[in-house]
Amino acid sequence: MHSLASTPFLIRCSIYLFSLWVLVSWPQGVDANAAADSVDTVVKSGHSEESAEFDASKVILHHIADAHDWHLYDHRDEAGHVHPVSIPLPVILWCGGQWHFMMSSAFEHGHAQPQSGALTFRLDEHGHIQEASGLPVMDLSITKNVASMLLSIVLLLIIFISAARSYARSNNRMPSGLARFLEPIILFIRDDIARPNIGEKRYAQYMPYLLTAFFFIWINNLLGLLPTGANLTGNIAVSLVLAVFTLLITNFSGNKHYWSHIFLPHVPKWLYPIMIPVEVVGIFSKPIALTIRLFANITAGHIIILSLISLIFIFKTLAMAPVSIAFVLFMECLEILVAALQAYVFTLLSALFIGLATAEPEHGVHDAH
């Protein structure tokens, strides 16, 4: 066993920071038994303390949606009150012409209305922050999804920078450790995604984007599968951002042939009023397809797993648990596959779109015209 001191500096820092964060934000009065009856609390609370009815769709949508805090579990005190236990996250708001900073714990899970300056904020029933007097609020909070994404970025940086260093350490450029596992994947993206789709001449300049996109999506898909994990890649805003990156790269690298295909297609002139709008729509339909595909695949997986777990609470019997767990286990395995598959599909299609935009016209085809 090597000591903690020998682990890389970045890893140590992140471990300290994370434990500090958890310790500081841990609510008072949580005892060890709390976790044991958390299942019971979920049933009882059903996220609405008035009715004991279990609303599966509400629970599921709550779980796949973003939140201002990182909910871990619910805890019931001696008096029978339910306390959600969660990690508070920073809330950043732009409202009334100035910035407002607070921790999500200030909202006390919707029970409190914190004040910042002259303004009062509250959470609506969807968990969105509103200003009491109805002023528009620009919410740039570090939500659960953003926090999870930052965590994934820290992981990605640690993993790949240390992998890159392992090459520098080896005298014959052989990978070691983690890099030995990562290199086949990197080479797969280079040789089976970038090269065939973009072409030998230009593929190299798009490799950083394709690699980053692939590993970013993959690691976030996997983090989303962990218990209490955030549904980042299953969030339409995040998949949209990634698709917009592909859109921008595709169109900024589009060559003369690409644009002439859109605005001067090889059809009779009188078809232009139809063809040009169709082609322009095509520019945007590609990234929209990317967005929907990633979002829908990941969210659907989460919904299925949560539905299977909800079966236990719908039937209100522990006898359902083995069945549910068996199905959930199967689904989790499938989702691990889907996590890699969707990262692959996104990367492959991005490469394909870039390849289409940068392809030189085939001379043979043009000579035939």
């Binding site: 796949i64 919410d139 999804n145 992998a163 890159a164 990197i186 805003a237």
Partner: protein, 166 residues
């Protein structure tokens, strides 16, 4: 509809973070990793080329060796054949010479023998003649010691000569 409504925070932070991640990873991860991989690929290709070349050189060397061997073998065969020819020639020549010499010697010997025989015969003849003369002389002398015997003999001789006495 909350599910498909993008939230501002989740557009801004991922966009910024992803861009930053892309820039940092490009400089500190992808570039060194891909460069290392390319460098290694080049090294491997070089090593393979070198190995191939060495193999070709080996093959060439082998071919050269085989050719040299074949040449040497052919030369040896040639030399052997020549030597054999020379030997045969020498042997046959020697044989011929020996035959001639032998014949000559034989002839010489034969001649010598013939000469010797002739000489011996002559000698023998002379000896015999002399002996006969001696013997005849002795006999005659003995016979003719008595005068009647001389007379008888004379007569006898004369009778033999058949000289007609008339």
């Amino acid at each position: 509809m909350d599910l498909v409504t993008p939230q501002l925070g989740l557009l801004v932070w991922p966009a910024l973070s992803f861009l930053l991640l892309l820039v940092v990873l490009r400089k500190f991860a992808w570039k060194p990793i891909l460069e290392s991989v390319n460098e290694r690929d080049a090294q491997i290709r070089q090593a393979l080329d070198a190995a191939n070349e060495a193999k070709m050189a080996m093959v060439r060397l082998q071919a050269d060796n085989d050719k040299l061997m074949a040449e040497a073998r052919a030369e040896r065969d040639l030399m052997l054949a020549e030597a054999k020819k020379t030997r045969d020639h020498i042997v046959s020549e020697a044989k011929a010479k020996a035959e001639v010499e032998g014949k000559r010697l034989l002839d010489l010997a034969r001649q010598d023998i013939a000469n010797d025989r002739k000489a011996a015969m002559t000698e023998v003849r002379n000896l015999v003649a002399n002996l006969s003369v001696d013997v005849a002389e002795k006999l005659l002398r003995k016979e003719l010691e008595k005068s009647d015997a001389q007379q008888t003999y004379l007569r006898q001789q004369l009778d033999q000569l058949q000289i007609p006495v008339r």
